[in-house]
């Protein structure tokens, strides 16, 4: 017996086939498929018509159905209202959130994170895209904003925003992730919340120009090895980018999900360095400078560096590594409403700044054993990827849900033990070990970690305590 879902899938495949084969005489097999499908849907239709006898109860039923609602009987708004549309008022709890822990006093050097427990698909709406600034959100007049390109180029350049947008445009869908996503939990779980545990990231369709398309007419000098990107906001946020990335897929973007960037995202323009630390995607961009030596900006020395147990810190740690999380269930939206035997979809996100997701495994015992989950929807480079696994829920069961993603660069998410043995627990940034939700007996979901106690050898090396 096929599920309705499968039937629909077959139907979609079938329609595609019939379009492709329109000019072909050999349409026999697809016609057979279609007849098969029509026969099955017809059977369902008959059941539905005859099924009135299956209606269950003599009770009156729900008011939601029985009572006419005002929105069903009275005029709605004229189209002249809300010319820029907003979400339903009933969705007001789907919003960015902040915590004082992640703020420098006045919330100008701070972050508000994305409610990924409520996200669907792979696109974050612009109003929910996580917001991070170092001197507050600047509100720039695009007419008074310029992009200046200087340094080791034969021809320095100033562009107005209108001129910049005249370049041939490129549209790409990429996530942006703060490398401190999950960074408060190196020493143990802290947030009983998906939004705060993994919401320092969002994903959007960006439109802009390849920087290489601008540079090709400026004559970049051979000794140029680094680019400084600097913002025009009050923090003058700057970062150093190696030429290889500049000449590969780095972009200056003005469009986000079909409209202009929001001020929180750097309106009118920001840098987009696909897959790399969100901090490198400098907002309110106003200057690109080229040099033979790197710059040592504040946010690539004092912060955004990964201190290891050796006392050495990793600098220029560009890419956000392969990562994943279960998004449904979550601590916010749990399984307390499920009945015994309910079939439920476990859903999640996987992403890698180093390439394209190739697979996701799911564990029900905290990462001891894994089963393969299914990817679904579009699978794009350096982009959120949805994955799914169907589960039959047993009332009272305890589960440790852990997901683990792989990418086409060959990486797989490490266990917590594997990661902390190498980089310790003081790294702050770039934590991509597997994450675990515990489903309690009552269906509540809590954030846990599955990990060993560490010890230290006299030479400083980290080891697992009690391991033979």
């Amino acid at each position: 017996m096929k599920t309705t879902d499968n039937l629909i899938k077959e139907n979609i495949v079938d329609i595609k086939k019939s379009q492709q084969d329109l000019d072909s005489l050999d349409t026999k097999s697809s016609n057979v498929d279609r007849r098969d499908f029509l026969a099955k849907t017809a059977a369902i239709g008959v059941t539905a018509l005859a099924g009135t006898s299956l209606l269950a109860s003599d009770e009156a039923g729900e008011a939601a159905i029985l009572e006419p609602q005002s929105w069903g009987t009275k005029w709605g708004d004229p189209v002249t209202k809300n010319l820029y549309g907003m979400p339903s008022k009933y969705e007001h709890n789907v919003t960015r959130r902040y915590t004082k822990l992640l703020a420098s006093g006045n919330f100008r050097a701070s972050i508000a994170v994305t409610p990924i427990q409520e996200s669907s698909g792979i696109i974050t709406p612009n109003g929910l895209f996580f917001s991070r600034s170092h001197g507050g959100v600047a509100h720039i007049d695009p007419n008074e904003h310029r992009l200046m390109i200087t340094g080791l180029v034969e021809k320095p350049l100033v562009l107005t925003m209108k001129q910049l947008k005249r370049y041939p445009s490129v549209t790409r869908t990429h996530f942006i992730e703060c490398p401190a996503n999950g960074g408060q939990e190196w020493r143990g779980p802290q947030y009983n919340s998906l939004q705060f545990a993994k919401g320092f990231m969002s994903c959007a369709e960006w439109t802009g120009v390849y920087i290489k398309d601008i540079l090709k007419d400026l004559g970049i000098k051979p000794e140029a090895r680094w680019m400084l990107a600097e913002g025009g906001d009050s923090s003058k946020m700057g970062r150093t980018i190696p030429m290889e990335k500049v000449l590969d897929d780095a972009m200056i973007v003005w469009g986000q999900n079909g409209e202009a960037l929001r001020p929180e995202q750097g309106y009118p323009i920001r840098l987009l360095v696909p897959g790399w630390e969100g901090n490198l995607c400098v907002k309110w961009l106003r200057r690109l400078d080229f040099a033979s030596e790197p710059w040592y900006c504040k946010e690539e020395t004092s912060k955004y560096t990964v201190l290891k147990p050796t006392g050495k810190a990793i600098q220029h740690f560009y890419a956000n590594e392969v990562n994943s999380t279960v998004t449904s269930p979550s601590p916010e939206i749990d399984w307390t409403d499920l009945k015994d035997g309910d079939v439920v979809e476990i859903e999640g996100l996987a992403w890698s700044g180093m390439g394209t997701i190739t697979g996701v495994d799911i564990s029900f015992d905290g990462g001891k054993t894994y089963k393969e989950a299914s990817l679904k929807g579009l699978v794009l480079p350096k982009c959120w990827t949805r994955w799914s696994y169907m589960h039959t829920y047993k009332k009272g069961e305890e589960l440790l849900l852990t997901s683990r993603a792989m990418d086409d660069a060959g990486y797989i998410q490490p266990t917590i033990d594997q990661e902390i043995l190498k980089v310790g627990v003081e790294a702050v940034y770039h934590r991509n070990a597997v994450e675990t939700w515990k489903v309690e007996k009552d269906g509540k979901v809590t954030h846990v970690e599955v990990r060993s106690q560490l010890d230290r050898k006299p030479n400083g090396e980290l080891v697992i305590e009690g391991k033979a």
Partner: protein, 381 residues
């Protein structure tokens, strides 16, 4: 950081230089074979060069990316100078100037202490600038809090930052936080001298004591205790290749590589691994509080008319200069006030500060008083 060379600008041999530059840089990006669109890149990941009109799954109008485009103009020398404020590790971009520890302390007390605390101790979410002797505390960088009650590494300017140029540049461009780019070069030298002083650092064998006067020449002799504390080495002509080499080894950065067919499917955790729970309530100070409920938002109108109450109770001092109170609409004055954090502003107002009596002498609930403060602040942005 590079001076514009006008002669160079006039004689742009753009095409030649362009092909030179791009060829040199693109060599690494070229696909090893045209069919596979993947190659190890500087970040340890893969690249998707354009092959057969596509990059990865995206179609490309290759004709759009090889046109000669000449939008824009060359910046003027003045424009360039105005924005070219970066300071590099070798001193490029660092202006002449001088400032003493003593002057630095004065500026610090006037413009920095409200956030960074006494002697740079930090607080209220603002970064510490010092925790004591930089050379001694540099030794803490190997600390790992693997068990409760262990001390962590001290990561402040003196103990952690590899270059002093970063501090000079950052203060000049981005401090004081509510009013950036407002300090003179000499004031920046003075503040840097003060910060070196509270980190108990020395320059060229000489302690930066209370009498010390810093200038450009001395600044360039600063050697940070953690100068060699970062990997890979990004300096010099081999910088980018050092980075590529570093990220080609997953062990260097805590990553794991495996063939998909050989990945672990059973017994993938250490036998010692246990379920670890959030301690206490964990971090749960979320704003707005977590909720998945679909309902109508609460009405925010409390019935209290803040503008009216402002006129009645506050305008006499806050609407005119010369009363000593920050004037409504004065962005700079209120930015300085709110830089202390709104909690502090409320508390100062409720309890009184300087010449202002508690709540300005008005008979108001705390909540209503705060909404007047919010009104004044909103009118002063």
């Amino acid at each position: 950081m590079f001076k514009l060379n006008k002669k160079q600008l006039i004689s742009i041999s753009a095409a030649a230089a362009l092909s030179l530059g791009l060829t040199a840089c693109m060599e690494n990006a070229a696909p090893s074979s045209s069919s596979t669109a993947k190659k190890a890149s500087i970040d340890g990941g893969v690249m998707y060069p354009v092959a057969n009109g596509k990059t990865g799954p995206y179609y490309v109008n290759t004709n759009a990316h090889n046109q000669k485009i000449e939008y824009g103009r060359v910046p003027t020398e003045k424009e360039y100078e105005e924005w070219n404020s970066d300071v590099m590790a070798d001193g490029t971009g660092l202006p002449e100037g001088e400032g003493s520890v003593e002057e630095g302390e004065e500026v610090y007390e006037a413009k920095c202490v409200m956030c960074h605390g006494d002697f740079g101790s930090g607080g209220g979410g603002y970064p510490s600038l010092s925790k004591g002797n930089a050379y001694e505390l540099h030794e803490t960088l190997t600390n790992q809090r693997i068990k409760p009650d262990m001390d962590g590494p001290v990561r402040v300017f003196g103990t952690y930052w590899p270059q002093a140029s970063t501090l000079w540049w950052y203060i000049k461009d981005a401090m004081p936080h509510p009013m950036t780019d407002s300090l003179t070069d000499d004031e920046v030298y003075a503040l840097v001298a003060y910060i070196l002083n509270i980190n108990e650092m020395e320059i060229d064998g000489q302690e930066v004591d209370d009498e010390y006067v810093l200038n450009r020449e001395k600044f360039l002799k600063i050697k940070m205790p953690n100068k060699d504390g970062f990997e890979p080495n990004i300096a010099g002509p081999n910088g980018p290749e050092n980075v590529r080499k570093y990220f080609s080894n997953p062990d260097n950065f805590g990553a794991v590589k495996v063939k998909p067919s050989e990945r672990c499917m059973t017994n993938c955790q250490e036998p010692t691994a246990k379920v670890v729970y959030i301690q206490g309530a964990g971090i749960s100070d979320f704003h707005p509080p977590l909720s998945e409920v679909r309902d109508l938002p609460k009405e925010e109108n409390t019935g209290f008319d803040a503008p009216k109450a402002y006129e009645a109770n506050c305008a006499m001092c806050h609407s005119a200069d010369g009363m000593g109170a920050p004037v409504i609409g004065d962005k700079a004055a209120w930015a300085a006030v709110t830089a202390k954090g709104m909690d502090k502003v409320y508390s100062n107002g409720i309890h009184g500060i300087n010449g202002m009596p508690p709540k300005g002498g008005a008979d108001l609930s705390d909540a209503n008083f705060k909404s007047i403060v919010d009104y004044i602040v909103s009118k002063s942005k």
